[in-house]
């Protein structure tokens, strides 16, 4: 069949005008807006700051500063820890939901799938803002605790802590994690599970030896789509994190704002992209070890 199709294919006239028109929009956006713009960031990272748009000279001073100033190590480490915790929390809490969707949801599957992805399409800013009113000194959590007699005085302990950043980000990016895991679980052939149970595997053994390894590609994809946006986030630290939760995204943003040192901001961005590249490579390596089917 496929040989037949292939034999007929050359007959189809491929007009070059059609191809050009169809390739043009995508080519413009991907090459100019993505590749060229990222190239500019890389170029700017090796320039000195003289207040002009593209800086001056060729230098590695920006990277030397990033590598030698302990401030940047602290903030980078903090960003990695926060993003790592958020990724761990979202993936661990999303897995049972995805598992239920794949194996137990039955007729309710469509509705549940819609319900867990719906928050994904609502305003990120509003979701973060919701946590600000929950955690504030005279906010929802404090007033509810006092109202119910558990606490006698409101506490400042909730807002402006790194913990608040972790909780808020984990909530904001929760919908990202479910879908990739669900897709991976859903594509596991049911015959594999039957084979496991026929061969005498207990449910937990079957889960540990069959389901979990087979769903690893989905877990890694989920971890990636949560980790990437959280590691560069600057809105949540600003809203609920306070000064002790400054993240690398906050520093980049301020270099292009108040601090006005674009080349240094570009160098910080390059470092973040390198960190992400390492994480992607590690994930891809792990994925290959689990024999990815996706």
């Amino acid at each position: 069949m496929s040989a037949l199709v292939a034999a007929q294919a050359p007959k189809a006239r491929s007009s070059s005008g059609f191809r050009l028109a169809m390739l043009l929009p995508g080519a413009l956006v991907t090459f100019l807006l993505i590749l060229f713009a990222l190239g500019l960031v890389l170029f700017l990272a090796f320039r000195g700051n003289d207040g002009s748009l593209l800086g001056v000279g060729l230098t590695v001073d920006n990277f030397v500063t990033v590598a030698t100033d302990p401030l940047y190590w602290t903030v980078t480490l903090r960003s990695l820890v926060i993003a790592g915790l958020v990724t761990l929390a979202t993936v661990a809490t999303a897995y049972p939901v995805a598992y239920y969707l794949a194996f137990h949801a039955g007729r309710r599957r469509g509705l549940l799938l819609f319900l867990v992805t719906l928050p994904f399409w609502t305003s990120y800013l509003l979701r973060v803002f919701a946590w600000k009113i929950v955690l504030a000194y005279n906010g929802v959590l404090n007033s509810a605790l006092i109202e119910s007699g558990i606490w006698s005085e409101p506490t400042l302990a909730f807002l402006n802590t790194p913990a608040a950043v972790v909780v808020t980000l984990a909530h904001a990016y929760a919908p990202f994690a479910i879908l990739p895991i669900y897709v991976a679980l859903d594509t596991i052939p049911k015959s594999l599970l039957e084979a496991a149970s026929d061969l005498g595997a207990r449910p937990f053994t079957a889960f540990r030896r069959v389901v979990l390894p087979n769903s690893m590609p989905g877990v890694l994809a989920a971890a990636l789509v949560v980790f990437v946006p959280t590691v560069g986030d600057y809105v949540t630290p600003a809203m609920v994190g306070g000064p002790a939760s400054t993240m690398i995204g906050t520093l980049i943003q301020s270099q292009f704002g108040k601090a006005n040192d674009w080349p240094f901001g570009a160098a910080l961005s390059v470092c973040v992209m390198l960190v992400i590249l390492v994480v992607v490579l590690v994930a891809r390596n792990a994925d290959r070890r689990f024999g990815s089917r996706t």
């Binding site: 929760a174 449910p203 980049i252």
Partner: protein
């Protein structure tokens, strides 16, 4: 075997409870915004102080707000059109173009998922200043096309892939040109997905904050207006009223997009991605 099945059923029930708790955690903080938008108090705190619509009344006759709203609507419409056009052409050529260039473009188009928003923002900020555009509405549109692109490509690609290959081959064999096949056969067959991609891209642009922060000139979008209001405790109830309207609109548009995405061809195949 019977024991096994009973065990699975019990596991299912416990998992079901967990899913319920998870949904509560997912929705409760967000639903506090509508709750307190009707509360007759400046503070978002318990106990509730009685029902009021006064915060919604403050939304009327606010020129800064309506300016931001119009701005957001225009930008979201243009950006969603651009992102959908790119999503259609990129995924169509990826599947049927048979060229490494088309496959490369498709791969790069999905790359923004792996770039934090702050870096998308600053890279475009450098670019628009370089080409002399400067922070402006066009700059925001370009930024939002980029942010929405992975979504439109994924939605369109899964729809095009769900159309049996024979349909396109039949059209070509019957003498239709590439262009006619695309316009008269493939595009009409995937129209629900086109609408769905457009609506999702519209929502992404309408709610986007992280990238727009770097690209906006003197005319803010709605999320930027909200951000500017968050500094003033007195305006928080108004923000919650506005947030309620935005949440309700987002829910409706996302729901419609979801229904459209699974209509027609896609309905027969279970295709969550």
């Amino acid at each position: 075997m019977r024991v096994d099945r009973a065990g699975t059923k019990r596991d299912g029930r416990w998992l079901g409870l967990y899913v319920l708790a998870y949904l509560v955690f997912l929705y409760l903080p967000v639903l506090l915004i509508p709750l307190f938008s009707f509360n007759d108090s400046i503070q978002a705190a318990f106990p509730l102080q009685g029902f009021t619509l006064q915060w919604y009344e403050t939304l009327y006759g606010n020129p800064a707000l309506s300016g931001a709203l119009v701005n957001s609507l225009v930008i979201a419409t243009v950006a969603a059109s651009g992102a959908t056009l790119c999503g259609i052409t990129v995924s169509y050529m990826d599947l049927y173009g048979r060229s490494p260039l088309a496959a490369t473009i498709s791969a790069i188009a999905r790359l923004p998922i792996l770039i934090p928003g702050v870096i998308v923002g600053i890279s475009l900020l450098i670019l628009i200043n370089l080409i002399g555009l400067g922070p402006s509405r066009i700059a925001i549109v370009l930024g939002h096309i980029l942010v929405a692109l992975p979504t439109t490509v994924v939605v369109m690609r899964s729809r095009f892939a769900a159309i049996p290959r024979t349909v396109r081959e039949a059209a070509l064999d019957l003498g239709a040109s590439d262009w006619t096949t695309f316009r008269r056969v493939m595009l009409p067959l995937s129209l629900p997905a086109v609408l769905s991609a457009f609506m999702l891209a519209f929502l992404i642009s309408f709610d986007e904050f992280i990238v727009v922060f770097f690209l906006a000139g003197t005319e803010p979008t709605l999320p930027l207006y909200i951000w500017s209001q968050l500094r003033f405790p007195r305006s928080l109830p108004t923000v919650m009223a506005l947030g309620t309207v935005i949440l309700a609109t987002s829910f409706i548009i996302a729901g419609t997009a979801e229904i459209l995405r699974h209509r027609g061809l896609g309905a027969k195949r279970r295709n969550p991605a």
